[in-house]
């Protein structure tokens, strides 16, 4: 059975790679702008015709730092919830209560984030 599990993942991997490669082929097929026709714009971003005011590859401050950090901690609960889901029906109320306590605990963190204004753009 273990071998058939690996066989299943071989099929998963093959399909993923084949589909991705096919699209990579299309995306590779690029037709460059004739640089003699539009000389100045040939190496600048197009931006719908606007002149770029900044270099894009500069430092970029995202405005949602606290949310990302709370998510990092919060999503750890997934590691416990998936196996929990599999044995849930078997264990019944005990499993329900246990996960309710766990999630209630974690929700405190989210509530704190919300109350501190961490969901607004910083």
């Amino acid at each position: 059975m273990a071998q058939s599990m690996l066989g299943a993942f071989l099929a998963v991997a093959t399909a993923t790679v084949v589909a991705a490669t096919a699209v990579a082929g299309v995306a590779l097929w690029r037709r460059p702008v004739d640089p003699t026709a539009v000389a100045w714009s040939a190496t600048l971003p197009w931006l719908g015709g606007h002149e770029p005011e900044t270099h894009a590859w500069n430092r970029f401050h995202a405005r949602y730092y606290p949310m990302t950090l709370v998510l990092l901690a919060f999503e750890m609960e997934m590691m416990f919830m998936y196996p929990w889901a599999v044995v849930f029906a078997e264990l019944g109320t005990k499993a329900l209560v246990e996960m309710a306590v766990f999630l209630a605990l974690l929700s405190l963190g989210v509530v704190y984030l919300w109350r501190e204004g961490g969901l607004a753009w910083q």
Binding site: L6, L10, W57, F60, P66, T68, E98, L106, E116
Partner: protein, 219 residues
Amino acid sequence: MTGTWVDIAFGVFAVAAAWFGWRVFVTDSMVRATFSLLASFLNVGAILVLLLAEYLGVAMFFMMGVEMTVMAIYMVAFMMNPAGLNPMQMVHQPRVAVVVGVLSTAGFGAVALAADLDTVAIVDPDGTIRALGHELMGSSMLVMQVVGVTLVATMVGAVVLSAASGRFGPADVGSVPPAIVPGDDTTRPGVDVGGDGGGHDHDHGHGGGAHGHDDGGDA
């Protein structure tokens, strides 16, 4: 899949994991560094699937995908020169680091070679997920609830440190010296806003350092 194919797949994933891990610290582009680390994680996840730890391997894809996306945000925000357009050296004590790195590999590897580990076949390879579920709901229940408390503490700590303003105004009031000119952030003692100020006096040649702090747009 037969044993030979598993060995071949393991070899490919192992080499890829190490190679991408090495690329993290030699590429100039911060986004490439971050997603090289992700690629290393994905290959280790694939090895875990080969090791029949199906759930842990696949979950690695999930968890590390999120973690590295967040990592990329911070890499671009807090590294001068995120795209690596100006090659620069951002390292210190390089020789010591290499020696210690090699030594730790050798030491750990020697332990692996020397330890006389008995191979025990997995009793129930198809029941590993269910077994983990029973473990977490049974004898490791305390682990899970302690983890819950740890995570809450982490979330609160992260919000306290990273939120610019809480319910009661700016988060760093009182923790920083006031500005010389009222309201002018740039005249605060100890704040470096010059193009080539004291905070960045080591050997990375670039021009986009401190003045890039405020360049970011709104997402």
